[in-house]
């Protein structure tokens, strides 16, 4: 018998189920507890940088909006610094958490994040990545949380040089990762779980 590697296996994922909101945004479901839901606000005071709003809907393969999803986003501040214990490059904006959590609208499923335009963050090899926001989606019917990223359609130059975007085989799918400015000034980022407009999801 050889030696054995003593690593542990990651806990297997199971769906968040139809009632993820009870656990993660209980106040949204009418269970008044904790003094409010975590991740509702990403700003704790005046923030640096461009303040933006991102709206979107998660659609299933039939085009039906999900109304039982939970969407989380994580991003750096306007200078590209994370409000994280693992941030070693400097001090992030103390009034910006970088983390948002949304249960979506009860009727339409639309999620809204009031945030700031993120600064650029380096790739492991030192090249700069285009400004982006990390997204994580869970819901009934999703067995393992889905990772994707929001890039910005108006960051043409940075996107064209981005180490990840430039290595995507099907370049015609890149628009699924781009938030577009809407008439009301907010950014639109819809997520399609499958179908011709299927969002690029990350194994990262």
């Amino acid at each position: 018998m050889t030696q054995r590697l003593d690593y542990l296996k990651e806990s297997p994922s199971q769906t968040a189920g139809p009632y993820v909101h009870i656990g993660c945004t209980p106040n949204f479901t009418g269970i008044e507890i904790y003094g409010g839901d975590l991740g509702t606000s990403m700003k704790t005071g005046p923030v640096k940088g461009e303040e933006i709003t991102i709206k979107g809907v998660v659609y299933d393969g039939t085009g039906t909006p999900l109304r039982d999803a939970m969407i989380e986003i994580w991003q750096p501040d306007a200078a590209g610094l994370f409000a994280s214990a693992n941030e070693t490059r400097g001090q992030a904006d103390p009034n910006f958490t970088g983390w948002g959590r949304s249960p979506g609208d009860m009727n339409t499923g639309e999620f809204t994040f009031e945030t700031v335009k993120p600064g650029a963050v380096p790739f492991p090899d030192g090249r700069m990545q285009a400004p982006h926001i990390t997204v994580w989606i869970v819901a009934r019917g999703i067995n393992l949380g889905l990772h994707t990223r929001i890039y910005f359609a108006d960051e043409t130059e940075a996107n064209a040089a981005d180490p990840i975007l430039t290595r995507i085989e099907h370049q015609n799918r890149i628009p699924t990762l781009l938030a577009e400015k809407s008439a009301d000034g907010s950014y639109r980022f819809d997520i399609h779980l499958q179908g011709p407009k299927e969002t690029i999801f990350f194994d990262i």
Binding site: L8, K9, E10, S11, P12, S13, Q14, A16, G17, Y19, V20, I22, G23, P26, I31, I33, Y34, G35, L38, D60, G61, T64, L66, D68, W74, P76, F82, S84, A85, N86, E87, W99, V121, P122, F123, P124, D125, Q129, T134, W136, A139, R140, G141, N143, L144, G145, L146, H147, I164, I168, R173, L193, Q194, E198, T199, I200, F201, F202, D203, I204
Partner: protein, 245 residues
């Protein structure tokens, strides 16, 4: 020499171990599963960082579902249990400061949610959610009532085994995980299409908590032990090569 600290990127997720997106016996997955190949990339700072949740966000009863929604002097109905364990990473290290959130049905198998249609009674003293943050060694503990199994619309007669949902937030967004804890001996485990998405008995066992008599409180509460493992980071002692070289 000090021990090597794993500060590299996260170890890739084992997709042969984790459930697939498309699992037809669990019907909702059919139209909610991506069909294109996932885009595989090493983690970057965006995934290797995460928000910090301080113990100061916690209220005194956040980890006590028996009392945290109950009227003063009253308590939730059902078998009183303590659930405890550790949050570890794949390297076997305890993960301190992890936000652990949990939610569940009441003792009759009913959730407190307006879309819930099961006829079992609501318990006016049970909300069904709680949270805690792991200690320095990654340990956590909460008190609740044992949830009941319940029927759900999938096949004509599908029942979920009794379970508690967990959401875990470690030190990197790449570690983000939601899963469920089952109770050893529940005959519904073998029948459930959601448990059925797991690819091996070993994976089912990893989510099945054992009765832990050592942690019971005599004449008060039984206890179940449930450890959870998040992705670990690679060791970096010899890692000085830039990607692509």
């Amino acid at each position: 020499m000090s021990p090597i600290k794993p500060t590299g990127g996260f170890i890739p997720r084992d997709r042969n171990w984790q459930p697939d997106a498309l699992t037809p016996p669990y019907k909702t997955s059919v139209k909610r599963s991506p069909q294109a190949a996932l885009l595989s990339f090493p983690t970057t700072l965006s995934e290797e960082t995460s928000p910090v949740f301080g113990h100061n966000i916690l209220g005194e009863l956040d980890n006590d579902l028996i009392l945290n929604y109950a009227k003063p002097g009253e308590s939730a109905i059902g078998p009183r249990i303590i659930v405890h364990g550790r949050v570890l990473d794949e390297n076997g290290r305890g993960v301190p400061g992890a936000l652990v959130e949990f939610w569940q049905a009441n003792a009759g198998g009913r959730y407190r949610h307006k879309k819930e249609a099961y006829q079992a009674a609501l318990d006016p003293n049970f909300g069904g959610c709680g949270r805690t943050i792991t200690a320095e060694d990654g340990s956590y503990e909460f008190r609740t009532i044992q949830p009941g199994p319940y029927p759900w619309p999938n096949g004509m007669n599908d029942w979920r085994p009794a379970h508690i949902h967990f959401s875990v937030f470690g030190h990197g967004f790449a570690q983000r995980l939601i899963t469920q804890m089952y109770f050893d001996g529940d005959p519904h485990i073998k029948l459930c299409p959601i448990v059925g998405v797991l690819k091996s008995q070993e994976a089912v066992d990893a989510l099945t908590a054992l009765l832990d008599m050592n942690r019971t409180v005599p004449m008060d509460s039984r206890a179940y032990k449930f450890d959870m493992v998040l992705r670990g980071r690679r060791q970096t002692y010899f890692e000085n090569r830039k990607e692509g070289l």
